[in-house]
Symmetry: C2
Subunit: 164 residues, 2 copies
DNA sequence: ATTCCTATTTGTAATCATTACAACTCTATT
DNA sequence: AATAGAGTTGTAATGATTACAAATAGGAAT
């Protein structure tokens, strides 16, 4: 599988340390050396990398980096909304520094994962990528179902009552 | 988490052995005892069960059942298009006997996974389920990107040429 | 019925991504 | 410089899934 075809675009996305730092602060993440490096990597590499890919690529410049730190940091970033986890692959989680609403397309042959903008009429010819032959669509929603929303609302009310 | 709320609907979906057997044959799956049982379970239980849930529930009636068989059978079923795998959860794969195009909604509180019909106007009030509060949408496409489609087409042509 | 062949099933062992945890380091504050 | 707290690191554990080889069942041919 051809993993890094999108990397030719890396130069277009280059970010300064300060830009990345500010982005972390905007999401209430304290900017450590490792966190900046990982966030910068996600912002510059639109390839939806795995933990291993992030770790291996950053290890050169940060030889003390631990894979656990990559896991920890990605958890912080996703919890704080600075990145999202993508479950399009069966095995590995993949990560995306772009948290704006968009879909993903995974080529079943080369394994590349492309970003698909979500427009109303659901066209599937994407500028710069071309025509995509869709064999499978998976649409997942997460949130609260009616019963849990009501229970949660009720609990909040009772909590406020007992708190006051 | 409340896993089996949907089970109250099981009775509505009851299938005979023959119905299930025919369904397997339609998908070119040789209907063994175990395969019928697992397919029947998926057709009757719309709860999007995990491997463990399927195994534990069927173990009572088939005490010789092996978890490996459940894995093997689910792989056969998904390969042959008689079922689909759902990756909405981080840990476990879930399975669905309904292969028609539809979305899934996972309640972040109780963990229930509901089927969402895909209509044009993307409404999200579902009969029998009620209003769903969406906090997260993940839309995944899989297929072939332009380059792989062309490469594949080219390979087919050359294969045909060499074969003739 | 018996033999043979193949597909299916089964149990165990291995794999591998992820998480738990405890020790260590770094920085800021007093 | 001592302390505290957050962040980092390495190792060990977890747990879902897969690999594999042995056992079993089923069907066709004799």
């Amino acid at each position: 599988m051809i993993t890094n075809r999108n990397k030719i675009q890396v130069d277009n996305y280059m970010k300064t340390m300060d830009e990345v730092k500010q982005h972390l602060l905007d999401h209430e993440v304290k900017p450590s050396l490792q966190r900046i490096a990982i966030m910068k990597y996600l912002m510059e590499n639109k390839t939806h990398p795995t933990v291993d890919e992030i770790y291996n690529d950053l290890y050169e410049s940060i030889p003390t980096l631990s894979k656990t730190t990559v896991y920890n940091t990605l958890k912080v970033l996703t919890d704080k909304g600075a990145a999202i986890m993508i479950g399009i692959e069966e095995k590995n989680a993949r990560f995306d520094g772009d948290t704006s609403p968009h879909a993903h397309f995974r080529c079943k042959d080369c394994g590349c994962i492309y970003d698909i903008p979500l427009d109303e009429n659901n066209t599937i010819f994407v500028d710069g990528i071309g025509e995509l032959i869709i064999e499978e669509v998976r649409l997942y929603y997460k949130g609260l179902c009616k019963e849990c929303a009501e229970r949660s609302k009720h609990n909040n009310i009772t909590n406020e009552e007992t708190a006051s």
